[in-house]
Amino acid sequence: MIPLYFYLGLAALLFSIGLYGVMTHKNGIRMIMCIELMLNSANLNLVAFSSYTDTLNGQVFAIFSIALAAAEAAVGFAIFMAIYRMHDKINLDELNILRW
């Protein structure tokens, strides 16, 4: 079987892609999607570790993580809906009332 660090490398790659997305995109929805990507890479990590150490704790934890990610994404989208309703824009660059 393949060594463990392949899975870890894949998860790190996914995390980096999500990170790059968060750092560069201006659209709020895209940012939330990239955050989901990062969360999923963490789930991948958890499951890989649980599988390779013959315990089931990691997989239980991954289930919880998926549920929380869903809840968080829902709330995030709801917030963006409210912002869009108020300001008619969702571009993070232009939401700058609190900036100097």
Binding site: L19, V22, M23, L98, R99, W100
Partner: protein, 672 residues
């Protein structure tokens, strides 16, 4: 029993006037006549104690009073009353007492009367403390205190700008001398510490007996200054003499004395005739063993003293202000005293005797002269001699006492006998010593100085007498004789000026010889003199008749000159004594010293440098302070831009920082 009891009281001598100062300072205004009675009582008590001590010392001169107590750290405070100190104490307290009594009516009605008596009480306390201090540091402290009181008293009428300026000038000029004195003390202390290996317990290094015991070792220390090999003792003693120059008004630091006449006349009598200016002479006399063991120091003292005597005399003959003439006379007579001390290089310890003798006599007749001048000014209202004349008809007692004082100052007497005014005996002693010195070392300069100064002295003092008291009044003035409280001290001082010299001459000299050979400090002046390469000769005493009579001849010549010009008015000085005559102008403008010292040096050079530096410093400091401000604002402007408000930038920064941190930790754990 009386002996120990007296020793306990010795410290009261300066303490009582100090207490009087405190009382008069706080309560004087409420008491009558400015609370003058308190200082008078205190000084009278001090006088009585010092007189008793002096008489006891006369009986057995070997037992001096010396006490020393630890003060703080390594410093001691103490009392030393040997013959030198005893005569000074008696003189100071006596003259101060008389002047205080005189001042009761002189300063009556002045709004600052309480302040005056408080300050003179403090001054007397400081002067007495200076005289009986047993270590050089305490002497210095009292020296400074005396200078402070002089400043306060000269600027007594401080609302007058000339008085304030004169007080400042006095303080600053004596300060120059004080700095030299302090430098001398510092060098002395550092040398003593080197020789003694640090402060020892149980002995106080700066006490006079300790200092004198180290003189042979001190004279072996030499320093190399600009290629000259100078003995440390010479440096130290010359610096001490520098302090004496400032305080006693020798050339070149004499400029404050004539201006100090801005104060009340009683202040001039007390401070600038009898006591403060003699502190310099006292210092040199007190440290005489050091002076005689240092090569060339006494020569410098003699030359400077003689030159000052002549120099001041030349200026005294052209002054028109009553008190200015007396001021220059004081400078001149102090020059005589320094000359007398300086002649110790030839006559050894006797120099202390003759110089102190002249000091005491001078105190009497100069104080008398000043008090009489004050009496005239108080009654007539003007100080300018050109407006006086014929005052004798209005104030006979003052005229008589002032004439007696003038005779004493000029030194009238019959040589070879005991008949004469006191000034005659003391001045004659100095001139004889100068002659001996000249014979012995073929150096006639001190003698020439003293004779010339004697001639000028006679001229100016009799010019003063004739212009003031004789002839017709030159202006309209109204005068009356002074009240008894002023004439009684005048009469007492006149009696002393007449007879003190003749009565006490030999006793005084012998008394003072014991100063350095008693229970406190026992020195062989001869061996010390050998260290200083001074050769002491015994007074021959058999000069030719001409030499004996020369001072008297010179004095009579001066009297004759003044008589002809100012009494008989035969020779009209007219064009000779006007500003068109360059010599007269030189003398009248006091050799342009005011211009040189004040205008050129102080205002020109010192102020100029200060103004220039302050501008430069202004620019430098301004640029530094403003630069800091500008720097801070600039840096903050740039740093502010880190907070962009764009959240992705923050995320980038976080990840970047985290990565760098991991690398750093890895590096550190691997490298170390």
């Amino acid at each position: 029993m009386v002996k120990t009891a007296l020793e306990e009281f010795a410290f009261l001598i300066p303490l009582l006037p100090a207490l009087a100062f405190v009382i008069t300072f706080f309560f004087g205004r409420k008491m009558s006549s400015g609370g003058a009675i308190v200082p008078i009582l205190a000084i009278a008590a001090s006088f009585v104690i010092s007189l008793i001590i002096t008489l006891r010392l006369l009986a057995n001169p070997g037992e001096v009073i010396s006490q020393s107590h630890s003060w703080f750290a390594v410093l001691n405070i103490g009392v030393l009353i040997d013959p030198l100190a005893a005569v000074m104490l008696s003189m100071v307290s006596f003259v101060s007492l008389l002047i205080h009594i005189y001042a009761v009516s002189y300063m009556a009605g002045d709004p600052g009367e309480a302040r005056y008596f408080a300050e003179t009480a403090l001054f007397t306390a400081a002067m007495l403390s200076l005289v009986l201090s047993d270590n050089i540091l305490q002497l210095f402290v009292s020296w400074e205190l005396v200078g402070l009181c002089s400043y306060l008293l000269i600027g007594f009428w401080f609302e007058r700008p000339s008085a304030a300026a004169a007080a400042k000038k006095a303080f600053l000029t004596t300060r120059v001398g004080d700095v030299m004195f302090l430098t001398g003390i510092i060098i002395l202390t550092s040398d003593l510490l080197k020789l003694a290996g640090g402060f020892q317990d149980g002995t106080y290094l700066l006490r006079f007996d300790e200092i004198f015991s180290y003189i042979p070792q001190l004279s072996a220390l030499h320093s190399n200054i600009f290629g000259f090999e100078v003995s440390h003792l010479t440096i130290i003693t010359l610096l001490f003499f520098g302090g004496a120059i400032g305080k006693s008004g020798q050339f070149p630091l004499h400029v404050w004395l004539p201006d100090a006449m801005e104060g009340p006349t009683t202040v001039s009598a007390l401070i600038h005739a009898a006591t403060m200016v003699t502190a310099g002479v006292y210092l040199v006399a007190r440290t005489f063993p050091m002076f005689i063991a240092a090569p060339d120091s006494l020569m410098v003292v003699a030359y400077l003293g003689g030159f000052t005597a002549l120099f001041a005399g030349t200026m005294g003959i052209v002054m028109n202000d009553l008190k200015r003439v007396l001021a220059y006379s004081t400078i001149s007579q102090l020059g005589y005293m320094m000359l007398g001390l300086g002649l110790g290089s030839a006559i050894g310890l006797e120099a202390v005797g003759i110089s102190l003798f002249h000091l005491i006599n001078h105190a009497f007749f100069k104080a008398l002269l000043f008090l009489c001048a004050g009496s005239v000014i108080h009654a007539v209202g003007t100080q300018d001699m050109r407006e006086l004349g014929g005052v004798r008809k209005v104030m006979p007692i003052t005229a008589a006492t002032m004439t007696i004082a003038a005779l004493a100052l000029a030194g009238f007497g019959i040589p070879g006998t005991s008949i004469g005014t006191s000034g005659f005996f003391s001045k004659d002693a100095i001139i004889e010593a100068a002659y001996l010195f000249g014979e012995h070392s073929n150096n006639w300069i001190p003698y020439a100085f003293s004779i010339a100064a004697a001639l000028l002295t006679s001229i100016y003092i009799f010019r003063l007498i004739f212009m003031t008291f004789t002839g017709k009044p030159r202006s309209n003035y109204h005068g009356h004789e002074s009240p008894a409280s002023m004439t009684i001290p005048l009469s007492i001082l006149a009696i002393f000026a007449l007879v003190f010299g003749g009565l006490t001459k030999t006793g005084f000299m012998d008394f003072l010889k014991e100063t350095f050979a008693n229970s406190f400090v026992n020195l062989n002046i001869g061996s010390l003199a050998a260290l200083g390469r001074n050769q002491i000769v015994e007074a021959a005493g058999h000069e030719s008749l001409f030499v004996q009579w020369l001072p008297m001849i010179v004095a009579i010549a001066g009297l004759a000159v003044a008589f002809i010009i100012y009494y008989l008015r035969i020779i009209k000085l007219g064009p000779l004594a006007s500003m068109k005559n360059p010599v007269y102008r030189l003398l009248y403008k006091r050799y342009y010293q005011h211009e040189i010292y004040t205008e050129f040096f102080s205002l020109g050079i010192v102020y100029g440098i200060i103004a220039f530096l302050s501008q430069v410093l202004d620019v430098i400091i301004d640029s530094i302070v403003e630069g800091i401000g500008i720097l801070t604002v600039g840096v903050s402007e740039e740093l502010r831009k880190v907070q962009t408000g764009v959240i992705q930038t923050y995320a980038t920064a976080v990840i970047l920082g985290l990565s760098l941190l991991i690398i750093l930790v890895k590096l550190i754990t691997e490298v170390l």
